[in-house]
């Protein structure tokens, strides 16, 4: 595990980290600076919590619950999640009041929204692919998934279930050889 940390500290650090994820930034560097670089939390535990999140559904920010668990058990996981929820509630409420004239905003954005969103998603895909250093077979597999989702509109959940099954089978094959 890690050196025990007070619940208020877990909450405070996660709250600040959440605000710093403004505009697509990540909570990871700030949390690393607070606990990993100071020796409170072992780097492999931090990486493991982050890695497990990529195998779970939902927002990737959920990894903070794992960090909170390492630092202060189940109460730590709960307050870590609370540290995410509070600024999100405040920020979204403020944005909702500010964009109360949604119809005008929708009319303004409608002709260009799909192009902007498409570009942002493609950039996110590129960003996800970079650190993985994909080989030709993996690129082909990604392209195949893109075709199934983009053209055939296959439900992504089935593709992920298929990937997990394939990965499990691959692990088993490696273990047996």
């Amino acid at each position: 595990m890690a050196d025990p940390v007070a619940l208020w500290e877990v909450f405070g650090v996660m709250l600040i980290a959440s605000v710093l994820s403004f505009g697509g930034g990540s909570q990871v560097p700030f949390i690393q600076g607070q606990w990993v670089e100071t020796g409170v939390l072992a780097p492999e535990l931090f990486s493991f919590a982050l890695g497990v999140t990529y195998l779970t559904p939902g927002p990737k920010a959920g990894f903070v619950a794992g960090i909170g668990y390492y630092l202060a058990g189940v109460p730590g996981a709960i307050v870590a999640a609370a540290g995410l929820v509070l600024p999100t509630c405040v920020g979204t409420a403020a944005a909702s009041f500010a964009t109360a004239k949604m119809r005008r905003l929708i009319t303004l954005l409608r002709p260009s929204a799909a192009f902007i969103i498409g570009a942002l998603i493609a950039a996110a895909a590129w960003g996800a692919a970079q650190p993985m250093d994909l080989g030709p077979a993996e690129m082909a597999a990604s392209a195949g998934v893109a075709v199934l989702v983009g053209w055939r509109r296959v439900d992504p959940l089935w593709l992920v279930v298929g990937a997990v099954t394939l990965g499990a089978g691959w692990s088993l094959a490696l273990a047996l050889t």
Binding site: F22, G23, G24, G25, Q27, E44, F48, A49, G51, L55, T56, P57, G58, P59, K60, A61, A65, G66, Y69, V74, A77, A81, L84, V85, P87, T88, C89, T92, A93, A95, S96, T99, M102, I106, L109, R110, P111, S112, A113, A114, I116, I117, G118, I121, A123, A124, A128, A129, M132, A141, S142, V145, V147, L148, V149, P156, A163, G167, S171, L174
Partner: protein, 190 residues
């Protein structure tokens, strides 16, 4: 825009379903979000969802949770907002805590490594597929769409080249309507 409020438990259920079944973050979830919120429940229009997706990038909080909060607030005010965020966060938080409590870090580079690679490859394909769907569904005349595709390519290139996401998104908010709207109005009127 929707005038009637949605019950908090309905919002919670919808976002529990979304939070339990989408992998790869908000951008990978666009198809599911459209299916659950627009097609199945009619809580908002496709255009409203697109606007919320864009606004969520400007909020000082995790994007996916912000989107949930925006939609939750729109359909159910404060209770809807909290229900949506909790619904999104609960499945992943619970599974992550279970994972770190029951498994050891060596598993990630060992038995879980192939699974991680397979899921990662799938999420990348999923994202590109969603990007294509968004571009394909763009409204407008042919000329507008061609300009829109060029604009999207430019925005993509800028972000890949290293322009931070927030300034890129803000610039897109401003430049996009300034470029695309007048052209569409001209082509539609002409």
């Amino acid at each position: 825009m929707r005038e009637h409020r949605v019950a908090a438990r309905s919002v919670l259920l919808a976002f529990l379903i979304i939070g339990s079944t989408v992998f790869g973050g908000m951008w990978a979830a666009t198809q599911k979000l459209e299916h659950e919120l627009v097609d199945k429940r009619g809580w908002l229009s496709k255009e409203e969802l697109q606007a919320q997706l864009l606004v969520s990038t400007l909020i000082p909080a995790p994007r996916f949770l912000s989107l949930g909060g925006l939609v939750g607030f729109q359909v159910g005010r404060w209770r809807g907002l909290v229900s949506a965020i909790v619904g999104l966060l609960l499945p992943t938080s619970s599974l992550v805590v279970l994972g770190v409590a029951l498994l050891r870090p060596e598993f990630l580079d060992g038995p879980l490594a192939p699974m991680g690679t397979a899921v990662g490859v799938t999420v990348i394909g999923l994202l590109f597929g969603n990007a294509y769907q968004q571009l394909r569904s763009a409204p407008g005349k042919r000329g507008t769409r061609l300009v829109g595709y060029a604009f999207a390519a430019l925005l993509f290139t800028a972000i890949v080249a290293g322009v931070p996401l927030l300034p890129a998104a803000i610039a897109a908010f401003v430049i996009g309507p300034a470029v695309v709207n007048p052209l569409e109005n001209r082509l539609a009127g002409g």
